[in-house]
Amino acid sequence: MRWRVITPLGLLCAPAIHAAQFLTIEQAQRAAFPAAAEFAAVDVSSAPGIDASTQAWQARAGGRTLGYFFFDRAIGKTREIDYSVAIGADGAVLSVEILEYRESHGGEVRLESWRRQFVGKHASDPVELNRDIQNISGATLSCRHVTEGVKRLLTIHKSIARR
């Protein structure tokens, strides 16, 4: 293990955004359904809980439906995260992939100002989860929003797969 601290002298020089694109939609489609011969766009505009950014395709090969591929956007801290969900013919999630995020993640540690929430609190002090201290669910906002998005897409899938 080797490490060193680099203290930046010019704070303004450091890049503030650590965005990354991992996959294009086409790459994610092929990765999710390698056997698919085509991805036919599905009209989801009337599905319940639909969002303007949600897109859906049916993965097909040899006249059969292999499953469905969804593209959606979730909010991270302040910017969107593009992600995809592949659902198989049996209705189970095959994969969830982040396609792109536009703000700092990982490699970044943000030290927020310490508020009064826990300083001085003892185990004997009653702490009401929602009232006293901000909701600590054990998950980051990004993770929760993507996970909630996946649940929403599963519901949308149910309504379109029935057609």
Binding site: M1, R2, W3, R4, V5, I6, T7, P8, L11, A14, A16, H18, A20, F22, L23, K77, T78, I81, Y83, V96, E97, I98, Y101, E103, S104, H105, G106, G107, E108, V109, R110, L111, E112, S113, W114, R115, Q117, F118, V119, G120, K121, H122, A123, S124, D125, V127, E128, L129, Q134, I136, S137, G138, A139, T140, L141, S142, C143, V146, T147, V150
Partner: protein
Amino acid sequence: MIRRARPLLGTLVEIRADGASALGAIEDAFDEIAWVHRTMSFHERDSDVARINRALPGARVDVDAGTAELLALALEIANASDGLFDPTIAPVLVDAGLLPRPVRPRHDAADWRDIELVAPCTVRLRRALWIDLGGIAKGYAVDRAVESLQRSLVARGCVNAGGDLRVFGDLPETVHVRRADGTLARMIELADGAIATSAPFERDDRVDTNAEAPHVDGRTRRFVAEPRAVSVLAPRAAVADALTKVVLADPEKAAPVLARYGASSLIHEGIAPA
């Protein structure tokens, strides 16, 4: 360099791998992480952790080899830190409403010394207790993923679970530590090792920080009174994670424990309480 990210461990986990076998290797590495998530979860009914937390004193609980390995490490660090790190502080978090209450009541005075590994994959409790492997399990997941990549003959890569990261193969990784206003506090360049950072923070809608519970001092069983922002660098991520708790509880007493594990700590000064 192939990069992929997925929502796991309550954060977005990013894996980077270089080489011909990278795509398949990354898939296998994500599987390892998902496995740790399921097996060590405090919340899932059938996880090894939940089964231990339901166990009657004296009963033998068979666990996965990975769980046993992680528990053995947790107990080793608890012993080395004289209890400053203690995986049995879950009751403090439960009583504070930060973790759901397990079904079985726990003994008030139980601590890490009441956990025995009576066989390679068998746990026995002397007294009823609740373990929470939260942070250390995240580091362990990172380690498992790295080892999986290496078994797949990936020459260099990085696994990053919301700031707990490990990089290998002579690929330096730069960690940016920022203040609340977005300015850079410092940058840490790391190669062939792991870093875990515990920072006091407030959750609000603008912040996407990994929401660990606030830190409990293993010996006083109270929330750490003087919250600091601390990073620990160590060869393994699980160790780095556990040692952040030791440093947060008592930076002075932590020094020999850090030395024993070939670890170093950085306290990020100048992050003033609001």
